[in-house]
Symmetry: C2
Subunit: 456 residues, 2 copies
């Protein structure tokens, strides 16, 4: 694809580098038959992949400042951190003309791909919309659950190299499907540079309110509101350490989505796969981030060696060789099992963000597995399909949190109100038990509120 | 109901006190017709009701200690904080005999009420179970969402006065309905005292693994595991400032439920209600906690005054008069509207935990309201019915978080894995768009993983 440096400034500055000749980059190898396997596997699970940067004190000050001084504080921090001097928030508000110009600047093929992605994401997420439930039970009590969309959502989009149009779609489209009325997007433009693909994706997703701000100051503006930006009810989207710390701190004032960690893939592959395909899949996560993790589970030692070789050959040709090489060397792993029947327990313990089952009968394996953010079944479903165009969401639980949480969905943009309605008769049926429990808990006013209505 | 001090130790120590004669306890009054209404209402919304106790440093140390020293640390903290000396965790593990004895000690009427509550909660929550979805789209891509139960859940139950059997049911029953295999319950027993009702409720909910431990040390034991207590995947249940701080800190290592604040009720009532009924409903929240908040919205000034009078008369007779009086005086409010049509916008801004619509046509009002944890419709549905026996959950979003979150449900005990499966043919359809987007984002290994399979 043709790329010019004004359209893709963050990308074009990245220099392809070659891996130093002769240096072999290998991930660690484990085998369930080793005596030390339980320790080795426990160490792999316990491994920390994120350097914890302590920005909490700085973030606290920024939040407080924006809460007290609104737009003025946002302008000040934007000048300091993004080297972008503006005298009013109007200058930091992306205009309809700018969006139109960005859309026009995107190559037709890319725009078509983004449009296809949007449509497939929308179509899949529409099936996730929960249905209201309302019913009357045997004694005449009406019960129910009613779902409504969150009124307003803030969408954080990172600037710089992690400014991905696909992530804009993955966050904004489910919100739109849920019926969120207002989506306010923030995206920093360091030195004034904004990725037009991000604006094009926002446009395709129907997002029109966009501010060129980022960092903790943007999170604060969304959470507390400023003279220009009305406060939202929930903030979603990935960001750097400042953004993550700010989201943690404003949680409660507003809702937040998960705090995502570095990406992960676990590929379970038998010896019948093309080693080049599996190596490419492992590299597709490794290239994200030096802290990303790619793991292969296989029952074929020869295949494992073939994948390692293929991976090294492909690595040498990758533009992001340094990132992918560091990730594979520091966090990659090959786990050799005696029998594929051992795989499900290992998968559940790892609880990967992405799980590929490249085996003859992936469904048979999948039903025995519980913990995974997203599953990619069979030999023809590379994980990258899910990142972009499959239709399912690519915002998924990392760092073993698939044990207890799910990927982003329409459910993250709606909330439920439970409904109860008693008649005089059904209250008479239920009342005495409620009074008994209230008395047992020493909460007599609870009991009185029921007793009053029953003349008790 | 008959109560003895050994069965209900926490309750029996509470001394009923009378409100000092002649002192009038009134909540603040607002009226939408006042010139100052917007400021008054904004101040009401912004009011902080929780004293923030900074226990974070102490909690951090306790967590680290339990993570490093396991059972030994738990024993040490239990001796220090609960004045309960035990030489092994076995002594802090509640036996089947103890549970049976507790069940036997509960009066038959209370046990019957708890059993009815359990059955109604189970029956309502079974309807919340999400269904798997699996389908093949027009180009042959299989997509889906698969739901599985969280493997293990820790249930925190407070000791002392907030040790509510109803909360045990509200947390444990949905987990059981979801299919959670292991529920580990922790409940502190300061000075060795344990509320038998809590054990009875656990028994009715099918919870068998119970430890007499509490505080941050119990949260740490559940999150990290000890020699005796295997780690769980998620921790739910209310607790004091130490428990809340500990849950915030272990979030990520395990899942947690919401951090609940003081309880709230908002009653929208027209002048056709019995003032005594509405006063009782307002008091049923006020008696929970001095920081609880009860608000009345009405279009009838005379009715408002009648409710205030009724409330004061009932208050004087309440065992928990001091708590309820302080809550009503400090945080209570009566909002007079000119027309009930003004109510929905006020309700949405308040986003109450509990919303009562005591009007002639509650449904007509309810459809115009978006933000509420639970709605109680009509004149015969006091909120206390939902606390105990209605069947819906009483763990609900507080402090305006109903704008973006929902009450506890079966969904909190399951997680979703998204599923994708391409065939060689459907990959050929989608591949080029995925490659185009990967290239546009500068992630060439993503593109390669697709291209390899298509011989591109």
């Amino acid at each position: 694809m043709a790329r010019c440096s004004s359209c893709f400034p963050e990308i074009s500055v990245r220099k392809p580098e070659r891996t130093p000749t002769g240096e072999t980059i290998l991930a660690q190898r484990l085998a369930t038959s080793d005596d030390t396997f339980s320790q080795d596997f426990a160490a792999l699970l316990a491994g920390k992949r994120e350097a914890s940067v302590d920005v909490d004190a700085a973030v606290r000050d920024i939040l407080e400042d924006v809460r007290s001084h609104g737009d003025a504080a946002v302008l000040r921090y934007t000048e300091r951190f993004d080297r972008l001097a503006a005298t009013s928030m109007a200058e930091l508000t992306v205009s309809a003309d700018e969006i139109a110009a960005a859309v026009a600047a995107v190559p037709a093929e890319t725009l078509a791909a983004l449009t296809l992605a949007r449509d497939r994401i929308a179509s899949h997420h529409r099936r996730q919309m929960p249905e209201d439930d309302r019913y009357t039970d045997a004694i005449g009590v009406e019960l129910g659950s009613r779902w409504t969309a969150i009124e307003s959502v803030g969408l954080y989009v990172p600037g710089g190299t992690a400014s991905y149009p696909s992530s804009v779609l993955m966050n904004a489209v489910p919100a739109k499907v849920a019926g969120v009325e207002r989506i306010a997007m923030v995206v920093p433009s360091p030195d004034g540079v904004l990725n037009p693909l991000v604006l094009a994706a926002a446009h395709l997703a129907g997002v029109e309110e966009i501010y060129r701000i980022g960092g903790a100051q943007a999170v604060a503006a969304l959470a507390f509101g400023t003279e220009t930006i009305p406060a939202v009810s929930k903030i979603v989207g990935p960001g750097n350490a400042f953004v993550a710390a700010a989201k943690r701190r404003v949680f409660g004032t507003v809702g937040i989505d998960m705090i995502a960690g570095p990406s992960e893939i676990l590929v379970v592959a038998d010896g019948e796969n093309d080693p080049d395909w599996i190596a490419a899949d492992l590299l597709s996560q490794a290239e994200h981030d030096e802290s990303a993790q790619s793991i292969l589970i296989t029952d074929d030692a020869g295949f494992a060696t073939a994948v390692e070789g293929a991976l090294e050959r492909q690595l040498a040709r990758l533009p992001r060789v340094e990132v992918a090489g560091a990730s594979w060397r520091d966090f990659g792993a090959v786990i050799l099992v005696d029998d594929m029947a051992e795989a499900p327990a290992l998968v559940d313990a790892i609880a990967p963000e992405h799980l590929e089952l490249a085996v003859a009968d992936p469904e048979a394996l999948f039903v025995r597995i519980r913990n995974a953010g997203a599953a990619f079944l069979g030999r023809y479903t590379p994980e990258a399909i899910g990142d972009y165009i499959g239709g399912s969401n690519h915002v998924l639980p990392t760092a073993r949190s698939a044990r207890f949480s799910s990927g982003l969905s329409v459910l993250d943009f709606v909330k439920r109100t439970s409904v109860l309605r008693c008649t005089a008769e059904s209250l008479r049926e239920l009342g005495p038990a409620a009074i008994a429990l209230a008395e047992a808990e020493g909460l007599s006013a609870h009991g009185r509120s029921v007793a009053q209505r029953l003349n008790l």
